[in-house]
Subunit: 343 residues, 2 copies
DNA sequence: CTTATATCGGGAAACGTTTGCGCAATTCCG
DNA sequence: CGGAATTGCGCAAACGTTTCCCGATATAAG
């Protein structure tokens, strides 16, 4: 049905090999032959069969990303979409297709990745976030597959990864509040099995410590990347006899929950509570008041991950850096613009 | 390197054909042989080569979606991510992989789709939104490819599509405001080449007409799916000598822009202006005040699109409905909770 | 005018599957 | 009990490429 390399060959009066060589710009094809074959190709509407090509070349020119089912509750959609946009854009630029897989649970995730990778449908995988003891990473690592992790792995420090310096970012956020005179600063973390939660908590603690401020266990709460978590954290904090005057939050969406709760209870931001969070999603400048947030360059994370993965697929030499750090930047907005005057 | 069907066959003492038949549960294979072969398969860690399979079966078990570059400015990320989640979930359930392609412009989009479809890498395509005179649709239609459109095509009314009844939805939104006593109602539309803009505008006009309310050209403005558009629309409306008391907006993000502007100018919502918009993104209940919005079932749109596309790929009989309508639902929140008392 | 050296292109095997056809052995049925 | 139907499986071709190995012609060198 479809026009194949043989059809082109026949019509051009050459062999299939020649057509193939024209396709790949083989040096030992005369300019004249090349011209002629190319003419016939688009005259016939020829399109190379990617499957056949992959079969013999043993490479698919495509990568996949795992979209974890659990991610629905774990992250804001914005985060993933930005990441995907970055990944797809760079992959496309480098001639790669991107396949999205999904699994309802960890077992399905491993099976999915295994099917794709072992079934030679994709050349590598991008993991969208890093959790502890991830069986997917175990699988990929043990079977020597190409993959890059967005985030950081504690068990496998030598794998390819693209990450922010989350410790530093969180340190910066906290220091920003401290520089405004705040001495009672809380922290709303994410799920404890996420590496990013640990890193940001550490940055927060480091900053407190370096400034000689006291760390209070009751000022640190864990949650999900959801507004509900923010809402709960808010009521917890505000009911404390000795409550913080500012908090650092793991994600903007969590901040939105806090904002909503504070508004309902007629508290004012930033006067009653200052907020700084992470990710700088577009809506964070639209909230009332606009949110101070650390921009972590989500698109850039995805873009770079694509880049690094494809590089590693194409060059076997592992000389490039195993770990890329994407710069972050604190966007100061109204939610943290309130100085505490020392008494 | 990798273990193939032949390796399994050899070790099991059968022919490759038999192994293949075991894989596809061919009826004429004895239970005993099947058992044995399957044992050997996972003993050897066999994974079928998807490319080889596709090559002979002429079907890839995968579909693709076009992620238009221009979409960045066109829609909120949330919309796409929800759509993709729905698509991927259902595709995965039906045993299909999803490939994301992207093009910087319309020409690249056609080329990308063409490469994928003609190159036999995917079996069909989902178009994420409908604009007028879309060359991608022309291409797909003329070449008889499998595809489904999320939205509606005016040129090709008989293609597969999944859509909301946007006319009715917009009618409902407008009627809701009318029922609150509003008689001066504005409309903020999206890009005029998007079919959804036209449909929603029509619903708005129909509702006005049915209620005997006057339509004022200056109360209808066009914009993008961006907060800036909302901001601009807001200043335009509020500077009108005879301004509306309520507006219907094409998208929640646009509403956020209006909200911000109104807040800056010290206007109050809903007292000074009532707002109803579309899409019901999660943040719309977090804004101050929470936004009334029409939930259009984005996930469901994606889910159904997957379903319909794969159905059409698998069954050649075209007896199922060509057009699916996903129900919508008005979520009334504070931004529209203000009645105008008639004098 | 030979012999070496490029230059250009063909033949055929290989990639890992699926599947129509055929053949032997077994079961069925009157 | 003999032929027909059924069951279980192997053979080999085919899917559309790529690429190694050669052969033929042309050009350069001795």
């Amino acid at each position: 049905m479809a026009v194949t390399i043989k059809d082109v060959a026949k019509k051009a009066g050459v062999s299939p090999s020649t057509v193939s060589r024209v396709l790949s710009n083989h040096p030992r094809i005369s300019a004249e032959t090349s011209r002629k074959v190319k003419d016939i190709m688009d005259q016939l509407g020829y399109h190379p069969n990617i499957m056949a090509k992959s079969l013999v070349s043993k490479t698919t020119n495509s990568i996949c990303i795992m979209l974890p089912k659990s991610a629905e509750e774990l992250f804001s959609n914005f985060f993933f979409m930005e990441l995907i946009r970055g990944i797809v854009t760079q992959a496309s630029r480098l001639g790669y297709d991107v396949l999205i897989s999904s699994g309802a649970n960890e077992k399905e995730e491993v099976e999915g990745v295994s099917r794709l990778l072992n079934g030679r449908r994709v050349d590598g995988v991008i993991l969208l976030y890093s959790r502890q003891d991830d069986p997917v990473i175990d699988f990929l690592y043990e079977n020597g597959h190409h993959f890059v992790l967005i985030g950081r792995s504690e068990q496998y420090p030598d794998i390819l990864s693209v990450d922010n310096d989350n410790v530093q970012a969180s340190y910066d956020a906290t220091k920003h509040l401290i520089s405004l005179g705040h001495e009672r600063i809380g922290f709303v973390s994410g799920p404890p099995d996420l590496v990013v939660s640990k890193d940001r908590l550490k940055g927060y603690l480091d900053a407190l410590h370096d400034s000689g401020l006291e760390m209070r266990p009751e000022w640190i709460v864990e949650g999900e990347f959801l507004q509900e978590s923010g809402y709960r954290a808010m009521s917890f904090f505000m009911n404390l006899p000795d409550r913080p005057t500012a908090i650092v939050l793991i994600d903007d969406v969590v901040s939105f929950g806090v904002l909503r709760g504070l508004h309902e209870l007629k508290y004012k931001v930033p006067e009653d509570l200052c907020l700084v969070s992470f990710n700088n999603i577009p809506l964070s400048e639209l909230s009332t008041p606009p949110l101070s947030s650390i921009d972590i360059g989500i698109y850039n994370l995805g873009y770079t991950a694509s880049q690094v993965l494809i590089q590693s697929i194409q060059n076997s030499d592992k000389t490039y850096p195993r770990r890329q750090i994407i710069p972050h930047r604190l966007m100061v907005r109204e939610s943290s613009m309130y100085s505490i005057s020392k008494k």
